[in-house]
């Protein structure tokens, strides 16, 4: 039975990277939330969430993005999302996340996005 979830932290220059893998649901979302809060506490406001290993997401996982992004943008930063597998991307799109977040295909593209569009502009 699959309910494992892993979040790994790394960095590329001033950009913090959270790499998610496994199942992100109401049971595992607190782990993601804690990792995100840890970055906020460290004063990071440029965050990439890399999702190539993420095989499942429910609204509890999406809620973590929602709960943090406005504060991060208020501080001049942003959350960029990259490398979604099709099944997970479908859930993001179903709720309209692609209209409110920069979602790109790969980690290098996400890094580049911070260079060209560091802040979210509607």
């Amino acid at each position: 039975m699959s309910n494992s979830f892993v979040v790994e932290k790394s960095a590329e220059g001033q950009i913090a990277i959270l790499k998610l893998a496994g199942f992100l649901d109401a049971h595992t979302a607190p782990e993601f939330e804690a990792a995100m809060q840890g970055l906020i506490d460290e004063g990071k406001n440029r965050i990439i969430v890399e999702c190539s290993g993420l095989t499942y997401i429910s609204s509890a996982g999406l809620g973590v993005f929602m709960g943090f992004v406005e504060d991060i943008r208020d501080r001049g930063g942003d959350i960029k999302i990259c490398s979604l597998v099709p099944k997970v991307q479908q859930v993001f799109e179903l709720l309209g996340f692609h209209q409110l977040f920069h979602i790109v295909g790969s980690l290098p593209e996400a890094v580049q996005k911070f260079e060209h569009s560091p802040v979210w502009e509607e």
Partner: protein, 147 residues
């Protein structure tokens, strides 16, 4: 010609640790109904959302309570009932805001019912105050009639 209905029931303690079990159960029944993997994934997500709502809102994370998931299908449709005996809540009251509005309010919730409604063909709540709450969902099976 009359079709035979197949029925399945899962009863689990009201804990988020059981969401994986719920998804496996729904996945297994969806496969038996002959649904494609991508459609099965949508059913798993919808029932996960329904159970997560029960655990959080109806039972307030009290894992001594139980959630019942009933699934049945015939040739025409799959029917899901998620039943609890917790406090009733109006799910529509927490799901009517736009996503950008929820983000502006730093809200983490409010998306579950919206997902359920976009994934299922029919969604209905039956609330019997003090007795039970039942979320009824229907997914019509798209089978090729010439097959």
């Amino acid at each position: 010609m009359a079709t035979i209905e197949k029925r399945f029931v899962l009863q689990v303690p009201s804990s988020t640790r059981n969401l994986a079990l719920v998804r496996e159960f729904v996945g297994s029944v969806g496969q038996q109904a002959g649904m494609e993997a991508s459609e099965v994934a949508k059913l798993q997500l919808a029932v996960d959302e329904a159970c997560s709502n029960v655990i959080e809102h109806a039972y307030c994370h009290d894992d001594t309570q139980e959630v019942v998931i009933r699934v049945s299908f015939d040739d025409a449709e799959m029917r899901f009932d998620v039943i609890d005996t917790g406090c009733c809540f109006d799910p529509h009251a927490i799901a009517q805001k736009d996503l950008d509005q929820l983000i502006a309010e730093r809200r983490k919730g409010g998306l579950g019912l919206r997902l359920i409604q976009s994934l299922m063909d029919e969604v209905q709540y039956e609330i019997e105050p003090g007795k039970k709450n039942q979320l009824h969902m229907v997914k019509r099976l798209r089978k090729d009639p010439t097959a």
